[in-house]
Amino acid sequence: MTRASDDVIIKALARLLMPFIVAYALYVVMHGHHSPGGGFQGGVILAAGFVLLVVTHGLEQTRKRMSEKLAGVISSIGVFIYGGIGALCLILGGNYLDYGKLSKILLVTPAEARSLGILGVEIGVALAVMAVMYIIFFAIFTAGESPEDDGRAE
């Protein structure tokens, strides 16, 4: 269904924009704890970058960069980071996602520990959101093909 676009302009501009889109998405994630943005928004922008790559360079080219399997693994890692930080707070004697308690292992003041904890959770959310959006997009785009066809095509 999605072959590489044969429009030179669109292909070249997507190629040039892609690193900047991903860098912008990471900026949104990393600055989420004291400016607008955060894990969800950054993750969606990341996924949008990959969708742009699929639309312009085709499914196969994008699969080489990130396969559906890798996306599944990344989404699990994201959820694991989120749940892990929450559970770590529980283990350290606070509530779930009570970042202040992280100061004991990060060796900083509780206020700074809160900031760092939110950053960590946001990275996890961004990874999970990006991977899940990517998987949903791939599922929609390859809806016509059965899995066996898929294997033979590669």
């Binding site: 044969d6 429009d7 030179v8 302009i9 292909k11 070249a12 501009l13 190629r15 040039l16 892609m18 690193p19 900047f20 991903v22 860098a23 912008y24 990471l26 900026y27 990393m30 600055h31 960069r65």
Partner: protein
């Protein structure tokens, strides 16, 4: 009698042995030669492989470093926070992105061309702005005249440009100039909508294409200026 026979036989035997020895030496020499050639060939091949591998590695590293520097500048522009924590985060993120996408930003660029291309591109921008201003005045004069003498048409021309990035630069320059819009590029043929005969003629003259080709150093392309120079020399030689 028997002694003479024996002597003869021995002599014959020696001769045969001698010949066999010469043959053996010859064969051995050839074998040694072949081996040497083989080894040399292998060495050459390995050297060439090493060289091309190193070349590719070098290009990759250049692309990687270039991409990360550009992305880091972009990050600082966005972030505006210059404390160690945020700059460190930025460095990590930019390195990661550059590692993942180092082949996208500088695809199809010949090694070592980047500096010249950048300089020529910057030199191209004032000319483009001048063209845009001139075309603006032209289009405004067309539109403001009560008769409105426009002559919309679609012109197509075959381009001499080779790489995708030069095609895109030309297409966007055409679109930026008022009165002309690039509709499509198919197999190196541009389809451009032009508002009047004058802008169409300007485009068909091909100065913009020449300049874009000059920026990206399209190799087997004759510049108008070069042809004029050559013609002058040719004239002098003939007279």
């Amino acid at each position: 009698m028997e002694v003479t026979l024996l002597l003869e036989a021995t002599e014959n035997a020696f001769r045969i042995l001698q010949r066999a020895r010469e043959h053996a030496v010859g064969v051995l020499d050839t074998a040694v030669e072949f081996t040497a050639e083989e080894t040399r060939y292998c060495d050459e091949k390995r050297c060439r492989a090493l060289f091309t591998g190193a070349q590719r590695k070098k290009t990759q590293i250049h692309n990687f470093v270039g991409t990360s520097i550009i992305l880091f500048a972009f990050w600082m522009l966005l972030s505006g926070k210059f404390d160690a924590f945020h700059l460190g985060l930025g460095a990590i993120c930019c390195t990661l992105v550059a590692y993942l996408f180092h082949d996208l930003l500088f695809a199809n660029v010949r090694v070592g061309d980047m500096r010249i291309v950048t300089a020529r591109f910057i030199a191209y921008i004032p000319w483009l702005i001048e063209q845009i201003v001139l075309a603006n005045i032209h289009v405004a004069s067309l539109v403001l005249r009560p008769k409105m003498p426009i002559d919309p048409q679609i012109i197509e021309f075959k381009t001499k440009l080779e790489t995708d990035i030069s095609c895109v630069t030309l297409a966007n320059s055409i679109t930026l100039t008022p009165g002309t819009i690039t509709i499509d590029i198919k197999d190196g043929v541009y389809y451009v909508h032009a508002l009047s005969q004058k802008v169409a003629d300007d485009l068909n003259a091909g100065e913009m294409e020449d300049r874009v080709a000059h920026i990206f150093m399209e190799a087997d392309h004759l510049y108008v200026q070069d042809v004029l120079d050559a013609a002058r020399i040719y004239q002098t030689l003939r007279v």
